[in-house]
């Protein structure tokens, strides 16, 4: 579950006031809004990267408002992916596990399992330099998912991808959410992405969240888009 209750966030001169939203456990929420309206700031506040002035953020059954990012049990994929240029794909997937002192065998098993799920087994020895947009996105997703987070925060994960790759990653996101039962908050501008993936849509307009819940995902949307 991701629940924000009257959350106010301060980021330099920019401020978001009394934002509330709720995504039930294991469901997919999409956050939309104009450029500069504060979507990324809100996502970063959930991740613990922006200062929350007031209100509470609950992830799962824990109030994480004052917890450090490392203690929140989240996977974060920023818009620019922010891959580590000095590390191989394997090291990306193993990063969160090494920090948690996993033993080598368990770590290797988890990395191989994730690589298979994401279709990047052949890339494990490569470094980010030279990876395609789709491959980079898969690596960033794998890095975020490796330590079994309960919550996945995605900042425009499909922007800057060509149409076919966008479709592939879109399918992959739906698969990940279904298979792993992770609660997702995904920022996008694209209404097709929203109808394809979302169970809950939130629009951030003039500092206010308007939410709507969809009965079922429109799985035909990507095909319509392609035609």
């Amino acid at each position: 579950m991701i629940a924000l209750q009257d959350v106010s966030v301060q980021a330099g001169a920019f401020r978001l006031n009394r934002i509330s939203l709720h995504i039930p456990t294991g469901e997919y929420g999409i956050l939309m809004g104009k450029t500069g309206c504060g979507k990324t700031t809100l996502l970063e506040a959930i991740c613990g990267l922006k200062r929350v002035v007031s209100g509470t953020i609950t992830l799962g059954d824990r109030d994480v408002t004052r917890l450090k990012p490392a203690e929140r049990g989240i996977g974060f994929v920023p818009q620019d992916k922010a891959l580590f240029s000095t590390m191989t794909v394997y090291e990306h997937l193993a990063f969160a596990l090494r920090i948690r002192n996993w033993d080598d065998h368990a770590l290797d098993t988890r990395v191989c399992e994730l690589a298979e799920l994401l279709g990047i087994s052949a890339l494990l020895t490569r470094r980010p330099y030279g990876l395609s947009g789709g491959e980079s996105q898969r690596v960033a997703l794998g890095r975020a998912l490796s330590a079994h987070p309960h919550v996945l925060c995605l900042d425009e994960p499909l922007s800057a991808l060509d149409e076919d790759t966008r479709q592939e990653i879109c399918d992959l996101l739906a698969t990940i959410q279904t298979q792993l039962g992770v609660t997702v908050l995904h920022i996008t501008h694209d209404p097709h992405e929203a109808t394809r993936l979302a169970q809950h849509i939130f629009r951030l307009e003039e500092g206010v969240i308007r939410s709507s819940t969809l009965d079922s995902r429109d799985t035909t949307a990507p095909q319509q888009l392609r035609n």
Binding site: C47, L49, A70, P78, D80, A82, L83, T86, F95, R143
Partner: protein, 282 residues
């Protein structure tokens, strides 16, 4: 003629002036400086010979100066890298009151005349806290600072570190903070994110900062002369040798030592270009 005709732009084909004067200007301005650099080095090498080189290198004083230069420059570089990494990181990552003032303070060693830095250091170590610190240092290590080898290192460090700080700040500015943010969400503390993500990303900047610090230290003369003195077989580094050889009229030895410094500087440049580029592009 209608009003529309009178306002219409000239329909004649647009002619562009030749680019030649522009390129000639660029070439001349750049060429003069490059020519001076190369001519200077060539003149130096023409002035010396293998015999003079051998004679100079056989001198125990010069060998001591070379050894001391290599040791002090390396120690200065290591110290500068630690300080520059910390300061460069703070200046790049954090916003705080008085940051622009601190930024200006960090430039002081770059803009101050080197002699003034030496003199200021000497005055500092003649003040109450300076004397206390030197006595403490003597008690701990058995070495004095002023007019001794630690003084050589401190004099080199004061200038070299400022250049290393500038380089490290620019390096961290270029590394997106986002990578560290991701590392924090993956379970890292600030310190783990720094050591495992930011510092490896900054490896090229570290190499450049180390090179700059080393090269600056190798050429440092003014502050060392004032703060550590120019005593043979004690605080004599390579630039001091050039000065001492010149002062006794042995210009050929002075040039030979200068050539050694030029060769060392060029070797450092080549290493940085090859290693730095390769590790960056991968």
């Amino acid at each position: 003629m209608t009003s529309t005709d009178s306002e219409a732009p000239d329909r004649a084909p647009h002619k562009v002036r030749s680019d030649t004067p522009f390129f000639v200007g660029l070439f001349l301005l750049s060429g003069v400086y490059l020519f001076l650099i190369v001519a200077m080095i060539l003149a130096n090498s023409a002035y010396t010979s293998v015999d003079i080189f051998a004679r100079t290198l056989a001198s125990p004083e010069i060998r001591y100066a070379i050894k001391l230069s290599l040791i002090t420059c390396s120690v200065t570089t290591i110290l500068s890298l630690w300080v520059a990494t910390a300061l460069g990181y703070c200046m790049s990552r954090f916003e705080f009151r008085g940051k622009s003032l601190l930024d200006s303070v960090l430039d002081i060693p770059i803009v101050l005349p080197p002699l003034v830095i030496g003199l200021s250091l000497l005055i500092l170590f003649r003040s109450g806290p300076g004397i206390w610190f030197e006595n403490l240092f003597v008690a701990l290590t058995g070495y004095r600072i002023t007019y001794a080898i630690p003084g050589v290192i401190l004099a080199q460090f004061m200038v070299a570190c400022a250049f290393a700080v500038r380089t490290m700040r620019a390096t961290f500015d270029e590394i997106p903070a986002r990578c560290e943010h991701v590392a924090l969400t993956l379970g890292c503390s600030r310190s783990q994110a720094f050591w495992s993500v930011s510092l490896p990303e900054a490896r090229r900047g570290l190499l450049v900062a180390a090179t700059l610090a080393w090269a600056r230290s190798l050429g440092e003369f003014g502050p060392i002369l004032i703060f550590a003195g120019a005593t043979r077989m004690k605080t004599e580094v390579m630039p001091t040798s050039v000065f001492l050889q010149m002062s006794i009229g042995d210009i050929e030895s002075a040039v030979a030592v200068s050539m050694l410094m030029i060769l060392a500087a060029m070797a450092v440049l080549v290493v940085v270009r090859l290693w730095g580029t390769e590790s960056y592009v991968r």
